[in-house]
């Protein structure tokens, strides 16, 4: 299979029904994408496919053939959301943070609090109570 991963073409070998999550973590070595539940509830495995947030634990690897996949590693060190999450303590244990940040990138410019809350409803965080995450997203976008 062949797809664009964080802007670079990759050709990992994986069964077509492998979870995209496993292909990213094991074949591509990008462990920033986390597994929290394996059922699309927690959003820790969120990545972008052609710019849309998806749970990579629910995506057959074959379906990203020819697509553009973005993981947390693809945002680099200087992404405004990464810094805002640092500054506002939007990350505590940090396991939900990559997925949270990737979903937040799809919320558009200057999202309202209501929009942030609705948009992030598929990303569970057990540490923060979400408030610091709202502060971070509002600061960065």
């Amino acid at each position: 299979m062949r797809f664009l991963l964080n802007g670079v073409e990759v050709t990992p070998e994986a069964p077509p029904m492998a979870r995209l999550l496993d292909v990213l973590r094991e074949q591509c070595g990008l462990t920033g994408t986390k597994e929290g539940c394996g059922e699309g509830e927690c959003g820790a495995c969120t990545v972008l496919i052609d710019g849309e947030a998806v749970c990579s634990c629910l995506v057959p690897a074959a379906q990203v053939e020819g697509a553009e996949v973005t993981t947390i590693e693809g945002l680099g060190d200087d992404h405004p959301l990464a810094h805002a999450f640092m500054d506002e303590v939007g990350a505590q244990c940090g396991i939900c943070t990559p997925g949270m940040i990737l979903t937040a990138t799809t919320l558009g410019p200057r999202p309202s609090l209501a929009r942030i809350r609705e948009g992030l409803a598929g990303n569970l965080c057990r540490c923060t109570g979400y408030e610091a995450i709202y502060r971070a997203v509002r600061k960065a976008t």
């Binding site: 462990t31 929290g36 999450f85 640092m86 396991i95 569970l124 109570g129 408030e131």
Partner: protein
């Protein structure tokens, strides 16, 4: 130089977490690593008659006979086997361990257990076995009740709660020379160390435990990692290869610990003017199938059962009972959220019985400096129960809203609560925790076994050391908790990491600073070479504790909180939406205000889940809803607006006046929310207050 304490400096671990670089257990790969799998009992009670399988030589297989040391998960009573021998006491109890290089082969391995089922016990009140009983007595109950104008009784129940750390339990065991190293998602490296030494005995020359980045703990990685680390270590020693054992969500929810379900009965005598004159409290905890931490959970539960109130005549009788369910264990709050749910809902019922404003009732009875607790402890000047109460009432507009919302679908309720900092009684003395500060080429390094599990340990400790040393925060680094490197600073539990370990670090840093004679650490390192100072916990000399009679200074001090919860009830669906929680919290000193606020916000929302959503459904002793689809924790759309207010009445014995913080925030939300529902005319005495339960209460009241 700007001081670090009191400022929200950047988290030490912020950028790694925000860029995905931080490495959690499942992110690590070792050469020749195998994957592990656990075969578990399916009946809640019975005997293991046999195990059948036909696994080829490519599998590593371990059962209890392969345990070189003692077959126990060493903790308090050492009654829990690491692997079942004959007796099965709960569903999902580990029986057999498998490892294989290929996960799909491992998955398809066929193993059959022959189990002979016996009759289980699920009701803690019907259980014949108490793991622990505790009796706290103050004054004479009869004398108290003789003065009472009114006696109010009630029974209150709380359900089990899943931790739902987003990273499930997981470890990797790696043979290392003649010893074993375990890397994993753990709160207490030295607990795991001690358990492995007991389990492995002479089979290893050494045991080393290293914490990986940990995706949440909340108590759920306090005792359980000793079990999973033991399993991985047994497989790794057998295979002579590294073994990774990571639970998926379902296995984690089926097999690991939960918050103890509770039944608490109150019988309280009051005078007409609202003075509490007698409190008789019975606390029953469902301990599950093994002792694990139940005695200490019961201890904290009973010690908080009378709430932050003064009363001359008190009896608190507690018991932790055996049942055939997976052992219940440590969970943020550790018994106190259960007993404080009971007392705080009971307080609102007392106010109703008296026809009194619930705030006035609380204000009248709230502990003040110089008052004595149920164990006879005299409280110091930092006791601020009334201050947090008054601040919360003022800040939330409680009185105005309560009046304005009467007869609507909006309700408002309140809870006043406290939480003892550190281990109970002489526990800290027994732990004798140590912590080290050492020079490096660029500053100093902190060596402790206190783990960062999201709460901000690294950052907060570095702030304390920076200011105690008089050096910039950036010059302080924090070592990875690795038992080969760091001293035993005790477990990362019991709201002790700041007040107790932070206090030890402060003294170590001060002593190191004195030895530098004015040199900067880097300069001193160049001139003097490596220099390290280790300090050990010193108990304040005034602390007296009688473990037999449960009398004396149960905790060095207490932190106080008051929650005001506002809710809206949908009478079509009986769903309660939490609208807002005002959380006034006094932790003595907020070392890092943003981290402290984050702890309070996060703990409050966990408390909202505990109160309204989170229900563990058990069927024949097994979890029937072991998925996040069916066990619901709050999402962004379920959380109330949060107004966090920090008060600071410093505790002179804590670093910069700080007390314990981590657990306090989860004590208050459940009773505040249920009291808010109560203000709508619904008499609810059990949580979670799921719509089904609220509907029942509504039917009962109409």
């Amino acid at each position: 130089m700007t001081e670090a304490v009191g400022r929200s400096v950047p988290r030490k671990d912020g950028i790694g977490k925000a860029t995905g670089r931080a490495k959690y257990a499942d992110d690590l790969v070792f050469p020749d690593m195998l994957h592990g799998r656990t075969i578990r009992s399916t009946v809640p009670c019975g005997r293991l008659a046999g195990v059948r399988h036909a696994l080829g030589p490519s599998f590593t297989v371990v059962d209890w006979r392969d345990i070189p040391g003692r077959n126990v998960v060493a903790l308090i009573a050492d009654d829990q086997p690491c692997l079942v021998e004959r007796e099965i006491r709960h569903a999902a109890e580990p029986v057999l361990l498998l490892a294989h290089a290929d996960r799909e082969t491992l998955l398809s391995a066929w193993v059959a257990l022959e189990e002979e089922a016996a009759t289980p016990v699920f009701d803690p009140e019907q259980s014949p076995t108490a793991f622990k009983t505790i009796l706290i007595e103050k004054g004479t109950l009869d004398a108290g009740f003789a003065r009472a104008d009114l006696v109010i009784e009630g029974t209150y129940r709380t359900g089990a709660q899943e931790h739902v750390y987003i990273e499930p339990n997981g470890v990797i065991a790696v043979p290392e020379g003649g010893g074993i190293a375990v890397y994993g998602s753990i709160q207490c490296p030295y607990y795991v160390h001690a358990a492995l030494v007991t389990l492995l005995g002479d089979a290893v020359t050494h045991v080393r435990v290293v914490q990986t980045e940990t995706g949440g703990g909340f108590g759920g990685k306090e005792e359980y990692p000793s079990m999973i680390a033991g399993h991985a270590a047994l497989l790794a020693l057998r295979a002579r290869r590294p073994v990774k054992l990571i639970y998926d969500r379902q296995e984690d929810m089926e097999a690991t610990t939960r918050r103890h379900p509770s039944i608490v009965r109150h019988r309280t005598g009051v005078t007409r003017d609202g003075t509490l004159v007698a409190m008789d409290v019975e606390v029953i905890l469902d301990g599950g199938a093994y002792v694990t931490l139940s005695p200490v959970v019961l201890s904290r539960g009973t010690l908080h059962a009378a709430g932050p109130y003064r009363c001359e005549h008190v009896r608190i009788a507690g018991r932790a009972m055996f049942t055939n369910t997976p052992p219940n264990g440590a969970f943020r709050g550790f018994g106190a959220p259960q007993t404080q749910f009971a007392v705080e809902v009971h307080m609102d019922r007392i106010a109703e019985a008296l026809g009194m404003d619930p705030i006035r009732l609380r204000d009248r009875n709230a502990l003040r400096p110089g008052d004595t607790t149920a164990t006879g402890q005299v409280l110091g000047a930092d006791c601020s129960a009334r201050e947090v109460l008054r601040a919360a009432v003022r800040k939330s507009g409680y009185r105005r809203k309560r009046k304005a919302w009467a007869g609507t679908d909006r309700g408002i309720g309140l809870s006043l609560f406290w939480h003892g900092s550190g281990f109970t009684g002489s526990g800290e003395l027994k732990l004798a925790s140590r912590a080290t500060v050492e020079l490096t080429a660029t500053g100093v390094r902190i060596l402790t076994s206190s783990t960062e599990i999201g709460q901000g340990t690294r950052t907060m400790h570095a702030q304390i050391v920076a200011d105690a040393m008089g050096i910039p925060y950036e010059q302080v680094e924090v070592a990875v908790p690795d038992t080969a490197v760091v001293p035993d600073s005790g477990p990362t539990v019991a709201s002790r990491t700041c007040m107790i370990v932070g206090g030890i670090l402060q003294r170590a840093a001060e002593r190191l600073r004195a030895q530098l004679a004015g040199l900067s650490p880097a300069e001193a390192f160049r001139r003097l070479g490596p220099l390290a100072v280790t300090e050990q916990y010193v108990q304040p000399e005034w602390i007296r504790w009688d473990e037999e009679r449960y009398r004396g200074d149960a905790y060095a001090t207490y932190a106080y909180g008051c929650n005001v919860a506002e809710v809206r009830l949908d009478r079509d669906t009986w769903e309660v939406r939490p609208l807002k929680v005002t959380a006034v919290t006094d932790v003595g000193k907020a070392i890092h205000p943003a981290l402290a606020t984050g702890q309070i916000e996060g703990g409050t929302v966990q408390g909202v889940g505990f109160a309204l959503l989170e229900q563990v459904v058990m069927r024949n002793g097994a979890v029937a809803n072991a998925q996040l689809t069916n066990y619901l924790i709050p999402t962004t759309l379920d959380t109330p607006a949060l107004d966090v207010v920090l008060l600071e009445h410093p505790y002179p014995g804590g670093p910069f006046g700080a007390k314990g913080l981590g657990e306090l925030p989860i004590d208050g939300p459940a009773p505040a929310l249920v009291n808010a529902i109560r203000s709508l005319g619904l008499d609810l005495r059990a949580i979670p207050a799921v719509p089904e339960r609220i509907m029942e209460a509504a039917c009962a009241s109409s």
